[in-house]
Symmetry: C2
Amino acid sequence: MTRWPLPDPMRKALALAQEAGTAGEVPIGAVIVRAGEVVATGHNTPRTDHDPTAHAEIMAIRGAAKALGQERLEGCELWVTLEPCTMCAGAISHARIAKLYYAASDPKGGAVEHGAKVFEQPQCLHKPEVYSGMGQAEAAEMLRAFFRSKR
Amino acid sequence: MTRWPLPDPMRKALALAQEAGTAGEVPIGAVIVRAGEVVATGHNTPRTDHDPTAHAEIMAIRGAAKALGQERLEGCELWVTLEPCTMCAGAISHARIAKLYYAASDPKGGAVEHGAKVFEQPQCLHKPEVYSGMGQAEAAEMLRAFFRSKR
């Protein structure tokens, strides 16, 4: 059996998640792509950076906005290994990200298909197209192994 | 008649909001206080900084975490001129802010008493004590004047 290959940006996001885990951070990675080119990447760094907002998505969004010299990321895709939380979903909306791809669902902290369901609020000014599930086994196993090692 | 004076941190947050407005940013300001001392301040800078996450609360939280050299802001109060959005409410929760004081309600974008009601989600791991309304007339008038001038 040949397993259908993961899209490149998700493979990269998983590699970034692994880097975060190795650094003692929760293993989550994110990649922003525009017209097939990687614009910015990020992984969780709140402990290292002393920054509670330093989630993978926020790091990637900030990096992409700086790289492109613009506040909004129209036409950009965000690939991330875990369902975004309320903070990150809000940032994705503010940034006008066109498409969101996430690997694993997060019933405990996710805010796309769980909890606050940020993009489904009538207040939400911009909803990305959302695709999920590609790479979910790899992403979820990395998180499980990380939290197992911390117990 | 003598008007009851605004608490100092809210007066400071309103002054920061005015600064933001003068710089062409949406006039919102935030102050973080611990044990009566100002730890960090922020105002909206997404346009200037090319950073869609640069809301007043995020700027103040990032500044306070850096200043204190810690990821979490236990024992800190956040004073802000407008009801936080989903992104900022999520960041407030991640940062473990003890008390949130905001001036004006924001039915269009707020996520504390409106929309996603982030702190009321069962997933929310940390809810600050929330107080609102002090300085609301000043904060709301500043926003109205700003958007009027942009039309």
